[in-house]
Amino acid sequence: MSAPAGITRVSLLKDLRLEWRSKDAINSMLFFSLLVVVVFSFSFDPSAEESRQIAGGLIWVAFLFAAVVALNQTWAREIRNQVLDAYRVSPAPANSLFMAKTLGNFIFVSVLEALMTPLFIVFYRLRALGPAWQLLLAAVLGTWALVVNGTFFAAMSLRTRSREIMLPLLLFPISIPALLAMVQSTTAILNGEGARFWIVLLVTYDLVFTTVCLILFETVLNAE
């Protein structure tokens, strides 16, 4: 395995192991996700006719909030123990760290989504009229779009005042095309319409922004 990929793998496994042992973030995140779904159920009455129209939007707003809470603690561990400084002086490429963090966040948010989705299906009595495998594809692409930008902006917000609010301030505007695509593709698939355009848009968005974030991350890591 090449050196950068090896570093990515090691960093990722370290993060997953730490999270598995402490389970502090995952527990609070799970409960937060459940609360979000319940609050949405009170705010947007899940009667069957309207639910399929708005369910796509609701699900993704809930995922977005859960993702922001998860992303905010991305770099917290590294700052506490001066790991970032050690990383900067090491010869390891910054991209490996970025990929490790992004993949870790992706796994984390995907677990949350996998747990929230059945709740949504149950509370809103959803059934997909279109091909359900496309829902999975849209979910994977959409989550990656959120996570790759979110990890990048989380690193950017490290030395700002009001760090926790800075991440959503930076993330939401830039994620709007991806968010629109996620919501529209989910709604289309649930209603049995075609979602090809939106999925292609998500693929393009993911490719472009992953590339640019990888290119610029070294600058951000050293600048922070």
């Binding site: 950017m156 005042r161 939401f172 505007p173 529209q184 600058t219």
Partner: protein, 230 residues
């Protein structure tokens, strides 16, 4: 520079007055909308000016990422600030125009939505500038500007498709324009561009002075002998 700026200022003021006169008096009255339509001569040039400024911001940010010249960073900051102001003008004059003509303040049509998202992206840029306490804020801001600018085509494309699926009333109309109106529009655009240039230049000088003062203070405290730092 000290002589050129006031001269350009006076010229721009004259040009702006002339453009205003053209827009309010000389331009022909629109057939269906009447005099309310004249806000068009304020609304559209502001939009074009904002787009140009944001484009310059993108160029300056890329230049800064490659060359790390402080002047490029100041240009990026200045164009973002003035661009946000012009974009705000667009978002405010749009509803003012729409209300008497179409009866609604806002609609989620393609143009308005895209402009709103553009405004949001650059306001978030300004927030990063304001809130970042890192010494390397210019680099972070330049990275954000590049990401934001790359997002713009996605914004337009996605909202275009979204609105083709769910059509809303289109504000601002399309189609051909009377050549006399086009003439007035271009005069106003020229006036707005000159004004934007002057404001940017002035802000640039202000920012540069501020940074020079900060550097001088920092240098002074570093070089001062121990015990006598003021």
């Amino acid at each position: 520079m000290k002589r050129v700026f006031p001269i350009l200022g006076v010229l721009t003021a004259i040009l702006l007055s002339y453009a205003l006169y053209q827009a309010l008096v000389v331009a022909p009255t629109e057939r269906t909308m009447g005099d309310v339509q004249r806000i068009f001569y304020y609304h559209v040039p502001s939009a074009w000016t904002a787009f140009i400024l944001f484009f310059i911001n993108f160029g300056a940010s890329v230049f800064y990422l490659i060359k790390r010249r402080p002047a490029a960073d100041i240009v990026a900051l200045v164009t973002a600030e003035v661009g946000v102001v012009f974009c705000t003008v667009v978002l405010v004059t749009g509803p003012i125009w729409a209300r008497p003509v179409w009866g609604i303040w806002w609609t989620w049509d393609m143009r308005l939505t895209s402009t709103l998202v553009l405004w949001l992206i650059y306001v978030s840029y300004l927030f990063l500038r304001r809130f970042s306490s890192s010494g390397e804020t210019p680099l972070l801001a330049a990275s954000l500007a590049v990401l934001g600018a790359l997002c713009v085509p996605f914004v337009y494309f996605s909202i275009w498709f979204f609105r083709t699926q769910h059509p809303q009333p289109v504000m601002g109309g399309g189609g051909s324009i009377d050549p006399r109106m086009l003439h007035v529009l271009l005069i106003n655009w020229l006036a707005f561009s000159c004004f934007a240039f002057l404001v940017c230049w002035s802000r640039y000088r202000l920012e540069k002075l501020q940074r020079d003062v900060d550097h001088a203070h920092a240098l002074e405290s570093l070089l001062a002998p121990r015990g006598s730092v003021r």
